[in-house]
Symmetry: C2
Subunit: 229 residues, 2 copies
């Protein structure tokens, strides 16, 4: 196996473990000596992988992906840039920054002329109507979805009626002017959606909800669109 392949493997092994893994374990998993493993970790770090090592504990990979060398066509790059620009312009602050980072990271590894081509791709996202609220909540909601945590909501529906819910969020829908959290509602015992601009308060709990979000997403997709709140 080539060294490059082994390094990629190492990333995957690290990814499978949420808890710290000792170098010895990793060395065995990738079939090399401990000394070589340390060298591999060093190489990955120098390539930008965020691996934390602590004496007496082990290694942890900060969540994320490592992509091997990849070739994109001109059109694919245009799609990538246009998409990132849309996110940059039409999403909440944290995601917008992430989108900018993606372009910056890609730009950083390209020679100057290609970096310019990224900036100058003639596809522009026009400023749209402002998006109704939710900028502060969205990162929290995304985090809750990623970690499958229950969410406490106090909500005001379209008629102004207030209610308190505990919901299991598994998706966010981006509409032109509003964003909608799709979740299982414990109160209604059914799927419901919640416009972020009608959320009055929101708390991410540390209680995990009992289903896989992928499964809920799948089930939800197979049904008719749920009603609001």
């Amino acid at each position: 196996m080539s060294r490059a392949q082994r390094l990629l493997d190492l990333i995957q092994v690290l990814r499978r473990h949420r808890h710290p893994v000792s170098g010895a374990t990793l060395a065995e998993a990738t079939g090399v000596s401990l000394r070589t493993l340390y060298r591999d970790i060093e190489t990955l770090k120098s390539e930008g992988a965020s691996i934390d090592g602590e004496a007496g504990v082990g290694y942890v990979l900060r969540p994320g992906f490592m992509l091997p060398p990849l070739m994109f066509s001109e059109e694919e790059i245009e799609a990538l840039v246009l998409g990132s620009r849309w996110v940059h312009q039409r999403s909440d602050r944290a995601l917008a920054d992430a989108a900018a980072n993606v372009l910056a990271k890609i730009g950083a590894v390209l020679p100057k002329d290609l970096r310019d081509a990224l900036d100058d791709s003639g596809l522009l996202i026009a400023p749209g109507e402002p998006i109704a609220a939710g900028d502060a909540e969205l990162p929290k909601i995304r985090q809750a979805i990623r970690n499958e945590r229950k969410l406490g909501l106090s909500y005001r529906d379209k008629d102004g009626v207030a209610s308190k819910r505990t919901v299991w969020p598994f998706a966010v829908g981006f509409f032109e002017k509003v964003r909608v959290v799709v979740a299982w509602c414990e109160l209604r015992q059914d799927f419901r959606h919640f416009r972020t601009d009608r959320i009055v308060t929101l708390t991410v709990t540390d209680r995990r909800y009992p289903r896989r979000r992928q499964a809920m997403l799948k089930e939800w997709r197979e049904r008719e669109s749920p009603r609001e709140a």
Copy 2:
């Protein structure tokens, strides 16, 4: 210099030449023997680079970028996926396909669990209002922009008045419901924008326009927004 670095260099050298380059030239540019160059080309091809070689002619790299190994955080991946989905849903067919390809390419190099994570990222683009026409024209327009070619338009403005123009297109603006070509209009001797749904006929000429599109974009940005047609 490491081999990986040299391979990346080779891509850049190839990129700088629009016309075929002989292996001997490339070998000299990267500082290796011809035999090693052939090996390098082989490696790049096996990594997915689209390099065409023809006996008696030389090598050409099909337009596109090669990205070295790159690490993205969880949030950056979410931004990437969301952006690609937006393009997939709200752009013309060709770009939509390119966006799908981007996700497929990234997915292809990831282990299955990560591929699922791509599909299941809980961020969804809601279907919006249909976009006014222009699906057939957009790929042609983008091509004209990339190659800096003059465009022949027959256009009907908002009052229904028809006209024929020759324009120098350098950008496309994506609004919620319409798309707008931004160009220098030979008739008006000024910047003008044209809604794609009001374009009656369109021809991409093979005549190159005399300015750099980056420069025009820059100049246009520094001005007030131009009027329609």
